[in-house]
Subunit: 554 residues, 2 copies
């Protein structure tokens, strides 16, 4: 129980942060030597390099005859040749089922403390995870460090804290004492939070830890054993999280199979078999909508999804159009548009954008936007690092496909030279103009560095289209620019009915892509982009059942 005393302050502070929703971070986002140690970066890089071409032997979930691994680095376009032990769904589920009956009986405070301890240890491996993330997802170094390390750990801590709060929200037991006139009726009542059963977390290829650890820790803190099924293309970052947790579980005398890594390969995927097994009760998923819809339709499961969406930028008026363009160009370029929060559909009135210096015409905006991206891409100190590499070849194919025939090309996509990785797979942003009437062209997610500048009649139409797209196809973010309070309120109200959060007038060093732990609800759960919302209490409550017991007091 030392761990409980050790980590109680962290958990209490995190619960407070969720309620305050002001800035809070347990894990510093800056990869600074002052914070993480002088050699942390070097050690992390070496630790990653030492894993390449070898078996990943840190897991404590039992022997396997079959080692698999399909990861390849988007920066080198070469396989990493790292292999992981693989198991059949039946083996994974049988072990999870056994571990379930141990884990569910562990008190919530110990469960939470064990989980926080795992994050504290993962912290020592943030740099290693950063390199592992770069060379599986193609993210730039800074994003790979932040998203897969501290930001992911903060989201995990958030899930632990939320779970702990809900588990302890009602008394464990009370005497229910009802006056009946001549006597009192007394019942000793007790409530238990009963875990639903085995959880499966299905990872994605672009954010292998950030999108997986919230579900993983939310299921675990509420007493469910978890099988992590990473994307075959991005395993190592989350494997390190799982390995660290398994080590602590073992130290605490518990079954490491409380959290298993269920690796598969592109040629032999096990996701459906896992998901459909009736012992699996909770599923967390990040990925395409078709598979997400299939999962949501499974009977008898509690399914949490983050699927695709069509994000919008609504540009009505601005104080400083150049700052607006700089901000949006960066948002689109960041990790080459491979973020679920990246803007895609830019709605601009045909009559232009009002500014204190006069109206900026549609064409003027489009030209400035294209020029700004061109400048960013061409800047050797920024371009390659902001853009990173393209995780999936299909994204390059999509960019090519849309490069002609869809609308006027304001900026063609090309490649960017990475000074460190000559063979990096890259694609710079493609900027197209389409008319508002051509809804088919912008009614789908075009994952990757593709921006559509949509010429609308006016801002009212811009908002109507952005709302319609969000309601029909989902949306995770909306950037809006307006200097008029009434227009802003109109945008907020309309987009709220499509359950889409709105970032107004972002300029400078803050981007619509960023959703902060302990503050921003990530995915609202209210439109087709997904049914789950990080940091919404529902995200943890659905993972357990309150069951009451009562008996007359003697």
């Amino acid at each position: 129980m030392k761990l409980v005393a050790k980590h109680k302050p962290i958990i209490e502070r995190a619960i407070q942060a969720i309620h305050e929703r002001t800035f809070f971070a347990q894990y510093p986002e800056h990869p600074s030597p002052k914070i993480y140690g002088e050699d942390a970066d070097k050690n992390g890089r070496e630790a990653f390099q030492n894993k390449v071409g070898k078996k990943f032997k840190e897991l404590l979930q039992g022997d396997s005859d079959n080692w698999v691994g399909d990861e390849e680095s988007p920066y080198m376009q070469d396989p990493l040749h790292i292999t992981y032990p693989s198991y059949t769904p039946e083996e994974l589920i049988t072990k999870a089922d056994k571990a379930f009956h141990q884990w569910r009986k562990i008190k919530a405070d110990l469960r939470a403390a064990i989980l926080v301890e795992s994050l504290e240890r993962v912290k020592n491996r943030f740099f290693e995870i950063a390199y592992a993330t770069m060379h599986t997802t193609g993210q730039g170094y800074m994003m790979a460090f932040q998203a897969s390390g501290p930001h992911a750990a903060d989201r995990a801590l958030e899930a632990i804290a939320m779970g702990y709060e809900e588990l302890t929200r009602f008394p464990e037991s009370v005497v229910w004492d009802k006056p009946m006139g001549k006597y009192n009726l007394k019942l000793a009542k007790e409530w238990r939070a009963i875990a639903k059963g085995i959880g499966v977390v299905i990872g994605c290829s672009t954010f292998p830890t950030w999108n997986s650890v919230p579900g993983m820790y939310a299921s675990l803190v509420t007493g469910n054993p978890v099988i992590i099924k990473p994307h075959p293309g991005a395993i190592l970052p989350i494997a390190i999280f799982v390995a660290e947790l398994q080590k602590i579980l073992k130290e605490e005398g518990l079954d490491p199979n409380i959290c298993q890594l269920g690796v598969d390969s592109f040629s032999n995927m096990i996701t459906k078999e896992l998901a459909e097994d009736n012992r699996v009760k909770v599923i967390d998923y990040t990925g395409n909508s078709a598979f997400g819809d299939y999962l949501e339709g499974l009977k008898g499961k509690f399914v949490f999804t983050e699927k695709t969406g069509v994000n919008s930028a609504i540009i009505d008026s601005a104080e400083d159009i150049d700052k607006v363009i700089g901000n949006l160009a960066f948002s689109l370029s960041l990790y080459s548009g491979q973020m679920c929060t990246a803007p895609q559909n830019f709605y601009i009135p045909a009559s232009g954008i009002k500014t204190p210096n006069g109206v900026v015409s549609f064409d003027e905006f489009a030209q400035k936007f294209a020029d700004n991206i061109k400048g960013l891409v061409a800047n050797p100190k920024a371009g390659p690092f902001v853009l990173g590499a393209i995780q999936n070849k299909n994204t390059c194919t999509r960019v090519e496909k849309f490069s002609s025939g869809t609308g006027k090309v304001w900026l063609s996509s090309g490649e960017v030279e990475n000074p460190m990785f000559k063979n990096a797979r890259t694609a710079t942003p493609l900027v197209l103009e389409v008319d508002a009437q051509d809804t088919a062209a912008f009614s789908q997610e075009l994952f990757g560095p593709i921006a559509l500048l949509i010429k609308t009649k006016n801002t009212a139409q811009s908002v109507a289209l952005a709302k319609e797209m969000a309601l029909a196809h989902g949306a995770i973010s909306c950037a809006a620019y307006s200097t008029d309070d009434e227009t802003k309120e109109m945008i907020a109200d309309e987009m709220s009915l499509a359950a889409t959060p709105v970032s107004f007038n972002l300029t400078g060093g803050i981007y619509v892509n960023q959703h902060a732990g302990f503050s921003d609800f990530h995915v609202t759960g209210g439109n087709p982009a997904g049914n789950a919302s990080f940091t919404n209490p529902e995200y943890v409550i659905k993972r357990f059942t309150w069951v009451g017991f009562r008996e007359p007091v003697k």
Copy 2:
């Protein structure tokens, strides 16, 4: 805003009660003249009698050319000839959609206060509602008063309080202030709880208010307009709730269509058309499993169900077997087994029940149980009032059907004479013996006064069967009798995995059928008996979406 100040203490006290989970009641359950006034009962009876044979004209939801009403009194087996204005689903939904945009913009504290005010006014009509309930459901007077009046109002208040707590759980706005080294990044953030859309509450014939008001008030407090679709056989009790709420809405200058009554008739049911309309987002339902499963399967809806279940009594050992039998006989007889919490499957070991005075054999238990029921039924001061009348003729048919061929008949079903209503439709409990191997006989809900005494190998088998039934067919309650702590813990643990609450060793004036507001989770949501749980925070959270807005601080 007078209402806000007036009712804030009630709401705050109710929130406190939900967290304490000890006894709390805002509305006294005893129909005492001291509490409710000397003439309250007489006035209520007359008010009900004055409604019979007439148009119900209290609703403020607009004219209708079509007045319908199929209610009949199970006590008189005669139609009540009360008619209600009827509307097409399109009319109801169009009006609700219009009212939505008014109601969702009302602040949560005013919404909550308006809703509490409606309960305070309904309080003055508890006796009228009691008679309306008797003559639609067949409940005895005392149950009709308590369940449809104070207990229902308490459950409604509970939903209001829970909703209010969740709506105000996070700050409306904050400044998010992130240190960036040389400067601080400041975002003004705001969050809004966005109602999902139109709610439809589908009532049942046996508990027309108790089972409907939680969903009704939970949807309303979170900003959703609601259409109440009562069971065609039990309209008047909930019509009074709706009418009182509409009056206050009008007084407050709001659209009474924020809460509409959508009456239909047996020959022209509108439920599916309402449920399937894509403007309807939230559905609350109490009733049979087939229709509940259909509703749960509808895409894009937030559905809360209470369906059927197979409740169990597990008898292992007892201090005083006669008290146990008295308690269980009453539980079965109360409202002739027409409660969703009534026990049905009684699991008794073939080797008998251990007591301090020796083992009570299976046959001895069965005989005593049958005798006790016989005594209760034959007691003219208790029998007719405890049993009430049978709401639906099909229940009598079911009792007849099972009266032979299923197993040994320990007690036949008959009729009981009601001194006040010579024509009452009644059926006294049928008690059958079946063997544990004959699972088909006890693997379904036999709604009504039917008890199956199931002879098991031992208590372990009793528990295994009760758990299996709950997992496969649902369960809302379980009564267990054991004097052994280890056995009790085994029962609690096993039944908890089937998400079934357990009442241990109830004797005297407290019954497994009773679930108390502000304390007992009614339906756990964890087995096929339903996906909703009264007083679980999920019950309100799913009715709205958190949407955030943010903008740099100037």
